[in-house]
Amino acid sequence: MSVRVLAAGTPVPSFSLAREDGGTFTDEDLRGRTTVLVFYPFAFSPVCTDQLNLYEEVLDEIRAHGADIYGVSCDSTWAQRAFRAQLGVSIEQLSDFEPKGATCRAFGVLHEGGFPQRALVIVGPDGVVRWSYQAPSPGDLPGANLIFDGLAAAAAA
């Protein structure tokens, strides 16, 4: 089975994710801003410098492009909150816990193992995917350079 992340030009489907504060984050929350969604397989993956730590290091520059950035996984909000605290990052996490993986499936990133593929999706203020990237395997960490490539492509689209 080979699922593929939504391609540029695709309108974002309706979706709902849980926020750390108990609220919901839906496709409506994407309107009016450029948004970077970082899909990752699991909280607490055992790598030294985590992908999210690196993105945190360049967060100001991501925001300077007028973009917001969120992490998305199928972990519960409690696990995501603990993960974020352990990493020491401020990037807000969104949970696709229940119904499990529904949003990841809608974005074409749900691995058959029940977790998100490692993927980046940049959505324009109009709710249309402007750029996306799926890592060759869940063990491959997409560099921050790809986010900036994507933001440049999104701005040009």
Binding site: C48, T49, N53, L54, E57, P142, N145
Partner: protein, 166 residues
């Protein structure tokens, strides 16, 4: 500053920090002084007599003192003792607070007042930032990352990769 979009690995420049025998192939290593795997890599590279250029890749949310340590190494470098400070930092990664940095500077015989001014200077910050940004643009995402013949190997490289540097 320029952007952070993808770009080739920056070529070696005259002010890159290079160590090891000149007749060996050159690796380019992106590392962070607070990263235990970077200390392990350093041991392995030394054991096989490799030659490498060391570039800074401090990620502060993961390693809060990595940035300060990188600046300390650069400041020591301005007094000709980059690699000595490099070794002193990796040898004791649990002690990277300011007094520990001053202690090392003193032990290495540096002008400590000058060291302290230099490590907080804009020039040193710009030097560390240059390395970091070049690494980001080349796709570095974890420490250590070792480039051999332009190909990135994230993490501590396996024996097959190390053998190419021996």
């Amino acid at each position: 500053m320029g952007g952070l979009g993808s770009a080739p690995l920056p070529p070696l420049t005259a002010d890159d920090h290079v160590t090891g025998p000149a007749d060996r192939p050159l690796a380019i290593v992106y590392a962070d002084f607070e990263c235990p795997y970077c200390a392990l890599l350093d041991l392995r590279l030394r054991r096989i007599g490799a030659r490498w250029a060391l570039r800074h890749f401090p990620v502060r949310s993961k390693h809060p003192r990595a940035w300060a340590a990188a600046c300390a190494a650069e400041a020591a470098g301005l007094q000709g003792r980059f690699w000595e400070m490099h070794a002193a930092l990796l040898a004791d990664q649990g002690r990277l607070e300011d007094p520990h940095l001053w202690e090392r500077a003193e032990r290495l015989g540096l002008d400590v007042a000058r060291f302290d001014a230099d490590r907080r200077s804009e020039a040193v910050a710009a030097r560390v930032t240059r390395d970091f940004r070049g690494g980001v643009r080349a796709g570095v995402v974890t420490t250590p990352t070792v480039f051999v013949d332009g190909v990135a190997h994230p993490g501590v490289p396996d024996d097959a990769v190390l053998a190419r540097l021996a």
